[in-house]
């Protein structure tokens, strides 16, 4: 794994599978009475959010807290940023406070890349969504969800056909998914009105269609992207109704999917726009499951970026604490066990 996670393209197939496999183990922690691992104790994770996103922020917050990291939430609204502080000065401030990882959501494409590469900070940077660029952890949790339904643990998504529908032009979710799903062997088809596809999309490693009905029967998963209603004011489509008719997923269209196919949505949903209530509330829709998977996936990302390559000496004590608390030893995540080789940990460190 690279030190930062800025783009889904930063992940090789092996990296991606490692994250997904680790996330499976993290998911098991969620089933325990005590949903907490000591792995990142003493580490500080800053959630730096320049854009409102309650879902993503609390997902990262839950992930970091389950790994016992200290979490600082920094929201640009009502902070020094709204008084004109630059990204650089904000970064220097966080650095001075000892951030080990900065989870950044920013309205400008490339802002996390700047944070990671301009020498302002040493912390690892996790892109939690930048402008209309990328949202790699969303792609990871989507892949995690697909794998659970369509292939299985330890496997990639070879041969699976994934259809992504909606506002691709403005979607960081679509960009990250095209990259990651392709890395994992899936065949991706983007479906959108031509106005909502970026120039140059023909060079992307995927198929493109303007006709949703033509691709449904060949889809193992359909991912509906959120479409902002305001888009019609810039003439991207004539009316909400026309959009819903041509590109919305309703019960009739859902029935055209193969029986095993799932319906995904990164949320928040515009019911009646890109997805009808009937579909959103159907058992085939994984939107809520995706939220749960988001926490496991982000735990895996934070763990691998912050703890994965170093022995966490202090973790040994806590493992035993957990045992004392009754957690069966074989239930401990493999990653955690690998991290806490009691035999390697000097005794003198154990009491710390």
């Amino acid at each position: 794994m690279k030190r930062h996670l800025i783009s889904a393209a930063d992940l090789t197939r092996d990296d991606a599978l490692l994250v997904l496999d680790t996330a499976e183990e993290m998911a098991r922690v969620a089933d325990r009475p005590i949903k907490k691992l000591p792995t990142l104790r003493g580490r500080t994770v800053v959630n730096l959010f320049f854009e409102d996103s309650t879902r993503t922020r609390i997902s990262f917050e839950a992930a970091a807290k389950r790994l016992s990291a200290d979490v600082i939430n920094f929201s640009a609204k009502g902070s020094s940023v709204s008084k004109g502080e630059s990204l650089k000065d904000t970064a220097l401030t966080l650095e001075a406070m000892g951030a080990d990882a900065v989870v950044v959501r920013h309205y400008s494409s490339g802002a996390p890349h700047r944070l990671a590469t301009s020498g302002w900070i040493n912390a690892s940077v996790v892109n939690a969504g930048d402008g209309t660029h990328e949202h790699p952890t969303q792609a990871l949790l989507d892949a995690f969800t697909m794998r659970r339904h369509l292939s299985g643990p330890g496997r990639d998504l070879s041969g699976r056909r994934i259809t992504v529908v909606g506002d691709v032009l403005h979607s960081r979710v679509a960009r990250s998914n095209v990259l990651l799903l392709t890395t994992l062997g899936a065949q991706v088809t983007l479906v959108a009105p031509p106005t909502l596809l970026p120039i140059g999309v023909e060079h992307w490693p995927c198929e493109v269609s303007y006709d949703l009905d033509a691709v449904l029967a060949k889809s193992d998963a359909v991912m509906m992207l959120r479409v902002q209603r305001e888009r019609m004011n810039a003439a991207f489509f004539p009316t909400e109704r026309e959009y819903a008719r041509r590109y919305g997923l309703d019960g009739i269209r859902m029935a055209a999917l193969p029986e095993h196919a799932i319906v995904m949505h990164p949320g928040p949903m515009n019911r009646g726009m890109e997805i009808t209530a009937e579909v959103a509330d159907s058992p085939r829709c994984t939107a809520v499951e995706q939220v749960a998977n988001g926490v496991s996936t982000r735990m895996a990302v934070l763990y691998l970026m912050l703890g994965g390559s170093e022995p966490a000496l202090s973790a040994g004590t806590d493992t035993r604490t957990e045992v004392r608390n009754g957690a069966p030893a074989d239930d401990a995540p493999r990653t955690d066990a690998a991290l806490t080789p009691d035999t390697h940990a000097p005794r003198t460190q154990e009491s710390k």
Partner: protein
């Protein structure tokens, strides 16, 4: 000072065979072999190329208003280091150069600087707002004798205003220099629209937004029989339109920046705002077309679009950054690298595209003249064999926003003469 004599010994005049050039009283006295050095300061120019002093049609000197990024003094010092003896100062200052008072102020600051002639450009419309013509005649009649008018930074997008401006400036042989950018097609635009912008999720600035305005304006210029000049032409399609307009015999001229001759939008993948510029860096195919067009004369000249910005305006995320690059001190090196060393243009061609033609477009007397007896001694002496790495800390400009930091470029200005007076000697300001 101008009474002194200087003998430039053994310089390749316009890249030709070595000759001596005697400068006296601010003019070229003699050009020939083994001239008498008596009473003259001798500049040994073995292996060096002598060109007429460069003329920039497109410089942002920022004064008045943004003296934190550049002043007339620091900008003209940078110009002299780059081999320029005249620059056209763009009108988008604070206040805007849309009155005789402001253009005379800039003109006077240029005279006081002494490093380079400063020819102010006047705004086409009041406040660059595109609605009401500025007092173009008053600026033309002022001490600054403005002949080039431009709302650069903003496009004169109203077709009627553009038509009237083109017509009106005929009365004093003016030219309208258009920043061709259809505003609606470029709302929030961050970079060239193409494969890279799609991948990076940055709002695109499509080539058609430039080309459609150029197409309209060459037709307008033909219709009213006036001159139009296209600023910083950046796409292969724009080249085709200008080529077509010229084939009709219309009075259309165009400039290209050094950065559009060398850099492409692939650099934006770094998200480093030092590559953020307007018009944006385009594709490799555009770069190739621009070089060919400059070589065959479709594009008349190289203009720097020297756009200084303070560090904090580039030390940020892409979308928050200012657009523009400094260019005066690296222009000649970039042109040597992209045009001369590639065999597309010889030094005579460089003298034409960087001195004679821009001076002619701007109706600038005393610049862009042949290296011949009796002509004003506005000259630049350069070493084409030099290779150096660009270090912005060495710049004379107040700003450092160069896209070439750390890049090796050929060529170096050894001396610049403004009416016989050396503004630069041994590569340093005098």
């Amino acid at each position: 000072m101008t009474d002194s004599k200087t003998l430039i010994r053994g310089a390749k005049v316009l890249g030709g065979r070595p000759q001596d050039v005697l400068v006296s009283g601010g003019r070229i006295a003699e050009v020939g072999a083994r001239l008498d050095a008596a009473g003259a300061a001798v500049v040994e120019a073995d292996g060096l190329v002598l060109l007429p002093g460069l003329v920039d049609l497109h410089t942002h000197l920022r004064e008045p208003g943004r003296e934190d990024s550049e002043t007339v003094l620091t900008g003209t010092r940078a110009a002299a280091i780059g081999g320029y003896t005249a620059v056209h100062a763009m009108a988008n200052t604070f206040p805007v150069a849309d009155t005789a008072g402001v253009v005379e102020q800039v003109w006077r600051l240029g005279r006081e600087s002494g490093y380079c002639d400063v020819q102010p450009v006047g705004a086409v419309t009041v406040g660059l707002a595109g609605r009401q013509l500025a007092e173009l005649g008053a600026m033309a009649d002022s001490a600054a004798q403005v002949r080039v008018f431009s709302d650069d930074g903003k496009c004169v997008d109203d077709a009627v205003i553009m038509r009237r401006a083109l017509e009106y400036v005929k009365a004093f042989d003016g030219v309208v220099a258009q920043h061709a950018q259809e505003p609606r097609l470029t709302e929030g635009a961050q970079m060239n629209e193409g494969t890279v912008s799609g991948e990076l999720g940055l709002t695109g600035w499509p080539a058609v937004a430039e080309e459609s305005v150029i197409a309209r304006d060459v037709l307008l210029a033909a219709h009213v029989g006036s001159r139009v000049h296209i600023c910083h032409l950046s796409t292969a399609g724009s080249v085709e339109i200008v080529r077509w307009a010229k084939s009709k015999g219309w009075a259309v001229t165009a400039e290209v920046t050094p950065h559009h001759l060398l850099l492409t939008d692939e650099l934006v993948r770094t998200y480093n705002p030092v590559y953020k510029v307007n018009p944006p860096l385009r594709t490799e195919a555009d770069v190739v077309a621009l070089r060919e067009a400059l070589a065959d004369g479709t594009i008349d000249c190289v203009a720097t679009d020297h756009a200084p910005h303070p560090h904090e305006d580039k030390d940020c995320e892409w979308a928050a950054a200012a657009m523009g690059m400094v260019g005066l001190e690296t222009a000649l090196s970039v042109v040597q690298h992209t045009m001369v060393d590639t065999g597309l243009l010889d030094w005579t061609g460089v003298a034409d595209r960087m001195s004679a033609r821009p001076a002619a477009i701007g109706r600038l007397a005393g610049h862009g003249r042949p290296v011949a007896p009796g002509e004003p001694a506005n000259l630049v002496l350069l070493d084409p064999a030099y290779r150096g790495v660009v270090n912005p800390a060495d710049f004379a400009s107040r700003s450092r926003n160069t896209p070439y930091e750390g890049r090796e470029l050929p060529g170096r200005v050894i001396a610049t003469f403004l009416r016989g007076h050396a503004t630069v000697m041994d590569g340093k300001l005098t």
